[in-house]
């Protein structure tokens, strides 16, 4: 009897401990055998799926030329980069080059980050990550989003995307397209999802409309207010109108149960006129057969007030581990990535990203990335790409996410939606 109880307790202990252990672990995709021959190995730990193979090929050649073995590790999709980094750091295997996605990453890793002021690449970009007057991050690319549209469908429906700069214009256009759904072969007007697990887009990209639309690129006033727990009531009210409009023109299945994968694929298949995603959707949209012409229209979260900018900027930055045994090689790796023809081509034409560097004239071929590259070339307005990431970790997905979900399911009305947002933001001030 006693033995059995002891055994049960032991088993329970073993099971819980291992369960908790694996929670923090994450599943890194190891690109090679790290750890061996540490002095001659440069570990690049990045988080973009599309970068993996091209960078591995590039790094292999670069490594051969520079007498070092470069291991490109990737953690993307269901792999939790933050958790995997923690595991690596605690295991004493901190990568030489790693990725941050903004101020949160900086705060997590600032103790191990090497400043890069004076590096040659810094003069070629306006997107480097700067904190306290020091350069800490090499911009991986420029990404951006607005409301992506299928230009062919808009043309058939007689909607000029250039007119989509405020809420009344969108209301009119959505109603017009909605009335022609059968004729155009559409399921609904907008492809947008709110299911749990896919709330990143709403909580971050859509919420950016409240935080940054219509403001100067470096204007953080609304974000600062939110961090103090204060709400700009007028902005929040027109923002709720915008969310309501988007939800009203998305079908129930897409809005409430589908995932981001289906959201992008169905747009690519021509079943929706608009897609609430950004340049990163190129690959899935193309795979679903989306070869039609696309563009981005600005979000309209300010009601009748005109908004003419896209949210664009560097999504992530490469950072250096200051304790790296190969710090000089790591710096050279980044400079070569910026200046060498191979590096420039790899990041743009092969990977399909818009370069953050002025000296790089190569362009990506993906339809959405091309649209953004055009926008940048034409000197289009940009709104902050990062304000939403200064909110505490998990706030956007775990706190705001379910509120969007309730609004999408029709369980709360717009007034409650606004009130719950105000309440949620108020908790930030504590």
């Amino acid at each position: 009897m006693k033995k059995l109880v002891a055994l049960a307790a032991m088993l329970a202990m073993a099971l819980t401990v291992s369960a908790c252990g694996s929670n923090g672990g994450g599943s890194g995709n190891d690109g090679g055998n790290s750890g061996t021959d540490a002095a001659k190995t440069l570990i690049v730990y990045q988080n973009k799926a599309e970068v993996t193979t091209p960078m591995q090929d590039y790094a292999e050649k670069w490594g051969a030329d520079n007498g070092v073995k470069v291991v490109v590790k990737t953690c993307t999709g269901s792999c939790d980069y933050g958790a995997a980094m923690k595991a690596d750091i605690n295991a004493g295997e901190t990568p030489d080059i790693f990725v941050i996605e903004g101020i949160t990453g900086y705060n997590l890793y600032k103790d191990i980050m090497e400043p890069m002021d004076g590096e040659a690449w810094v003069d070629q970009t306006q997107y480097e990550f700067v904190q306290d007057g020091k350069v800490y991050g090499y911009p991986v690319a420029v990404e951006g989003y607005g409301l992506a549209y299928n230009a062919e469908i808009l043309e058939k429906a007689g909607v000029d995307p250039k007119t989509l700069t405020n809420l009344p214009a969108y209301e009119e256009a959505f109603a017009k397209i909605d009335g022609m759904k059968d004729e155009l072969g559409l399921t609904a007007v907008v492809s947008l999802v709110s299911a749990e697990g896919s709330t990143w887009v709403l909580g971050n990209h859509n919420f950016a409309g409240y935080l940054s639309s219509g403001l100067a690129y470096d204007d953080t006033s609304v974000t600062d207010m939110a961090l103090k727990g204060e709400v700009d009531a007028a902005r929040l009210s027109t923002y709720a109108d915008w969310v309501e409009l988007l939800f009203n023109y998305t079908d129930k299945k897409m809005l409430t149960v589908n995932s981001n994968d289906e959201q992008m694929a169905e747009f690519g298949a021509g079943k929706y006129a608009f897609l609430h995603q950004g340049t990163w959707a190129d690959q899935p949209v193309l795979e679903a057969g989306g070869t039609f012409k696309m563009g981005f229209a600005p979000h309209a979260p300010l009601g009748a007030e005109e908004t003419n900018g896209l949210f664009a900027g560097a999504p992530s930055w490469y950072c250096l581990n200051k304790d790296s045994a190969n710090l000089d090689l790591a710096k050279k790796f980044l400079n070569d990535l910026c200046f060498s023809e191979e590096g420039q081509k790899m990041m743009t034409e092969e990977v399909g990203l818009v370069s953050a560097f002025e000296n790089n004239t190569h362009r990506p071929t993906g339809p959405l990335s091309s649209a953004l590259a055009d926008w940048i070339e034409q000197g289009g307005t940009a709104y902050s790409f990062t304000n939403q990431y200064s909110l505490p970790d998990g706030f956007n997905m775990n706190t705001l996410g379910p509120i969007y979900g309730q609004f999408a399911l029709g369980n709360i009305d717009k007034a409650t939606f606004i009130q719950m947002f105000a309440d949620a933001i108020a908790t930030l001030g504590k």
Binding site: C20, D111, K252, M397, G405
Partner: protein
């Protein structure tokens, strides 16, 4: 006499050394892999550790535990985990025991059934979750549309909090029942045929034979099966992550929260998404304590019912 005694003790000593040597590998790995991290975990739950060793951290006492208990989402997670665990616990065992009776009867093709029922257990929980997500989001709906069953066509299982819990139970049972069935099946093979035959001759019907002979004879299997299902139900994680991801959202005490965020998912979200590593650890410690208490109670109850043989 004295000399003999001496040789005995020295042999005893040598024996003890041998035992220790044999024990050492298991004991050492247990200490290193389980005991040490476990106590480190308890220690970290009393600090404000963020998951990075270099940053340093301060001792904050029971603050993480207090914050957790005050957190509405954690309260809801604890409650829904208990509800889910109970339903899942009953569902898995009822299905598993019925299947075990089925495959140990003389039914045709029982070997195929045995393998078939066990098969879902070989599919990883993540894959299984996606399979069932597809069934709930697409298959059921298109069946409803094609056969004109409007209830099926218009019900999104995963948007209703109650149905979403049910969906988790269905997927969980589908995955785990085959495994538990094997435990019951093995035990059923060891029930002496003579007992059943003589009961049959005495006029006991099938239900009476099951109730008064088979079930008491396989009580040890119940102890094991109930323990396994109870602890695994409390710790369900992978199926939840891929099937519902904590969704749908729901209103609870005036806040919008995730309806199927079971406690292990809540621990993950706290530790890795909200980046409150120490608070997540504190919640894991609480889960551990609850699990030990529940398991000890359950095993001592079922153990009492076992027949001493």
């Amino acid at each position: 006499m004295a000399a003999k005694k001496k040789t005995l003790t020295s042999r005893k000593r040598a024996d003890r050394l041998t035992y220790m040597l044999f024990l050492a590998p298991a004991l050492l790995s247990f200490l290193l892999v389980i005991a040490v991290p476990f106590f480190m975990g308890i220690y970290f739950s009393l600090t404000n550790w963020t998951g990075i060793t270099q940053s340093g951290f301060d001792f904050v006492g029971l603050q993480n535990y207090i914050n957790s208990i005050k957190d509405i989402r954690f309260q809801y997670s604890s409650m829904i985990t208990i509800v889910f665990a109970l339903i899942n616990f009953i569902s898995v065992n009822v299905v598993a025991f019925s299947l075990a009776l089925l495959v140990s009867s003389k039914i045709k093709g029982r070997n195929i059934y045995r393998t078939g029922f066990f098969l879902p257990n070989l599919i990883g929980g993540i894959v299984l979750g996606y399979i069932w997500q597809f069934i709930f989001n697409n298959v059921l709906i298109s069946i409803g549309e094609n056969y004109g069953i409007s209830l099926l066509a218009n019900t999104f299982f995963l948007t209703d909090p109650k149905l979403a819990v049910l969906a988790l139970v269905i997927a969980g049972t589908w995955q785990y029942a085959g495994y538990i069935m094997m435990i019951y099946y093995t035990a059923l093979q060891n029930v002496p045929k003579e007992l059943l035959e003589s009961a049959d001759l005495d006029g006991a019907n099938a239900w009476q034979r099951l109730r008064h002979i088979t079930i008491p004879m396989i009580m040890p299997a119940f102890t094991v099966a109930l323990f396994l299902t109870l602890s695994s139900s409390f710790k369900s994680y992978d199926v939840v992550m891929s099937l519902t991801n904590g969704g749908p959202s729901m209103l609870w005490q005036g806040q919008a929260i995730k309806a199927t965020e079971l406690i292990s998912v809540n621990i993950y979200n706290t530790a890795s998404v909200n980046n409150l590593m120490a608070e997540g650890q504190a919640r894991a410690v609480m889960l551990f304590v609850v699990l030990v208490v529940v398991s000890v109670i359950q095993t001592s109850i079922t153990k009492r019912k076992e027949i001493e043989s």
